[in-house]
């Protein structure tokens, strides 16, 4: 790639120091508008929420070691799984890759100095934090027991828990997604460096762009829905209340109109990460770039017309069910194209098994299992048997934890040298990646069997026959915990002690690797000029 020097504006951009050397005062972090520092603000916040939500999960798994409900009361168990869901979905998974890696990398990958709206970017983090405070307040106020889905009429008419505080927290955090999405869309459209055409964008950018569109289009529907829940609970407006001619099912339609696309908010950026890693560690260009881009956009589009598959047994019309089932099967097509293209990228590649690659290959396995079991659930008749069982729990954990979290960890390990300028211990990273793969399968595979055998989700006690599988699952959760705690330790250690990584330790392609690690304040010393496509590996 060739470069051009700025002309008249050079004095404004010439910053020799990297973005971290600008100071460590609280002010320099809390008032920063640098997308790279904001990415760190998000990274720290979502890590806190992640361990918070994980603690809730661990308590549930401990309860489930024995068939009897002996550790927790049923009420506490309900509050724990609700908390786990709310925290993990809205305070970890939705912002995870976009708000951290996306925030850090998207401007760099398109060759820009920052996001289009740096102040909105900072605002989004403050909004996120405010939403988080309300959610924590809901926990202190005794927790919420509706599940993360806030289904009516229970949430509006009956539940005595802190529904309102939790709903306000989620309502607020939605605006932070909208702001992030808005910034991504505008940045991708208007901030690309000379020569960075749409056909030369890395797939990570495409994936985050598609995600941003979903954030912008789906989140406001959740906002209104939660507003209506709040009004229903406080004023009794009747929109979800049959006594006034309202309809509780209307809530489910509105909720899933957001919450199904939200699944793609979680998985699309993960697919972006995996594309970058697999290309780099097999030293091959991505197989079928155009097909990959079209698949990303198709998944984003189909995501909006499949929400009814959450409602096959809730009384929606059979014809709606058939349509939603058909569209859901359609999602499998672009997903399969992506999986096959990743596999084809590996073909005749010079594959090396560094930690990021182990995460990426784990993603392939876990996403395939999660995706294929999704096809079971898309089948109308089979869903009647599997609905609300552990099979569903296992399926979406394979996608969300196996897919989204694994890719997040992979991305973190891949770009860590760029983020910090330091390299972590490769041995420990490999150990942690393997612990994640083993732990995930051990935790969630038994849950497929449990669900198929008829164990319903959200119960704190169960018949003795399910005992072995439940114990295996809890055992897996322990291994999984190791896979999350280890990186916390060795990555923190590497911040000070890790060896210097240099600008491009993986010998990777992409604009972000052409600038020093950690990058300068405005990302590039000279505005890059792009004259070839991504993934120019030989």
């Amino acid at each position: 790639m060739t470069s051009v020097v700025y002309s008249e504006n050079e004095d404004r951009h010439a910053t020799p120091e990297d973005y971290l050397s600008g100071g460590w005062s609280i002010r320099s972090w809390l008032l920063t508008v640098d997308h790279k520092r904001i990415a760190w603000l998000y990274a720290v916040s979502i890590t806190l929420f992640f361990f918070f939500g994980s603690a809730a999960a661990l308590l549930m798994r401990l309860e489930l070691i024995t068939p009897a409900g002996d550790l927790l009361s049923p009420e506490s168990y309900n509050r724990l799984f609700s908390l786990h869901g709310i925290v993990m979905v809205w305070f970890f998974l939705i912002p995870s890759i976009p708000a951290t890696l996306g925030n850090f990398l998207l401007p760099m990958m398109v060759g820009a100095r920052d996001m289009a709206f740096p102040k909105l970017n900072l605002l989004s983090w403050y909004v996120y934090t405010l939403g988080g405070i309300f959610t924590i307040a809901a926990v202190i106020a005794g927790g919420v027991d509706t599940g993360w889905t806030f289904y009516t009429p229970y949430s509006t008419l009956f539940s005595n828990s802190a529904v309102l505080a939790a709903a306000v927290g989620v309502f607020i955090v939605g605006f932070s997604s909208i702001l992030t999405g808005l910034n991504f869309v505008v940045t991708t459209h208007t901030m690309r460096a000379p020569g960075m055409t749409w056909g030369r964008l890395p797939l990570f950018v495409w994936a985050n762009y598609a995600t941003a569109l979903i954030m912008v289009l789906a989140t406001p529907v959740l906002t209104v829905t939660l507003l209506l829940i709040g009004l229903e609970r406080t004023l009794g407006i009747g929109i979800f209340d049959p006594a006034l001619g309202g309809d509780p099912l209307l809530f489910q339609h509105l909720f899933w109109f957001y919450s199904h696309p939200a699944v793609y908010i979680m998985i699309l950026p993960a697919m972006g990460v995996v594309s970058e890693i697999i290309a780099c560690f097999s030293r091959n260009p991505i197989f079928g770039y155009t097909g990959m881009v079209l698949s990303i956009m198709a998944i984003a589009l189909f995501g909006f017309i499949v929400w009814g598959h959450h409602m096959f047994v809730s009384g929606q019309s059979l014809y709606a069910g058939i349509l939603f089932s058909f569209f859901t099967f359609l999602v499998a097509v672009p997903s399969a194209i992506k999986t096959l293209n990743w596999t084809a990228t590996l073909f005749r590649g010079r594959i090396s098994f560094d930690a990021p690659m182990i995460y990426a290959l784990s993603f392939l396995e876990l996403f395939t299992v999660g995706g294929l079991t999704g096809i079971f659930l898309a089948a109308l008749a089979l869903d009647v048997h599997l609905h609300d069982t552990y099979f569903v729990t296992a399926h979406f954990h394979y996608i969300m934890v196996g897919g989204a979290v694994t890719a997040y960890m992979g991305g973190l390990h891949f770009w860590w040298p760029k983020l910090t300028g330091r390299m972590y211990s490769r041995g420990w990273a490999t150990t942690a990646a393997l612990a994640l793969l083993i732990g995930l399968n051990l935790t969630f595979y038994p849950q497929f069997l449990l669900g198929y055998a008829g164990m319903p989700r959200r119960y704190h006690s169960y018949p003795d026959d399910f005992s072995i599988l439940q114990v295996l699952s809890t055992l897996g959760a322990g291994v999984l915990a190791l896979g999350y705690l280890l990186p916390l330790i060795y990555l923190s250690w590497s911040l000070r002690r890790g060896e210097k990584a240099g600008p491009n330790p993986w010998d990777a392609q992409g604009l972000e690797w052409q600038t020093p690690s950690p990058p300068p304040v405005h990302n590039f010393r000279e505005t890059p000029e792009v004259n070839e496509g991504p993934y120019a590996y030989k």
Partner: protein, 229 residues
Amino acid sequence: MPTSNSGRSGESRPEVQFDDMEQQRHAGLLGMWVFLLTELLLFGAIFASFAILRVRHGAVFAEAAGHLDLSLAAVNTALLLSSGLTMALAELSAGARLRRATIGWLQATMALGALFLAIKGFEWYSEFRHQLMPVLGLPFHYSSALAAPGEQPVAAVAELFFNLYFIATGLHAVHMLVGLGILAVMLALARRWRRPDRIDRQLRIAGLYWAFIDVVWIFIFTCFYLLRA
């Protein structure tokens, strides 16, 4: 953030992340379009809910709509559409660098918007007086000539209609207030008239938002007022 706008020549320099003013202008406009997409889905969820319930309770909703003041709403529609025109003229004036015309058209737009809100407030007040405001535990009395078509009493379904009406018009009024706030800032900037190119650019972004509020009102007017018995 250290924006390096120098006012000497009256022309702005772009913010640090942009290469030139054209890029900054494009990003600002696109940002507002994307934001309006969000707003569209926000109101869309309410209109979709209304449509479903309107179909389900056709007769009761149609009769309840008859209790709304169509003539006041028609006046309001005329006011808001006129404000769309004055706003467009304000944008054109700023584009032509005409300070006094910009200020004048902005003031006209704000006056029309404020009048709209005043009439809307009066309408709400008269609904409150007729005990048609079922919020905050206020009394709701509704008598109907209809026989209950479904399981619910007619008055209960009418209450649902009025609740939806207050949510939709209330949310619209909040947007009007935000719009008036934006216009107030733009008016202050136009009075000072430093960097007219920036005023021109920002006014076009504000104009998009104002036009959107207009469009939403037209849908509210149609759904709630015109679909009557």
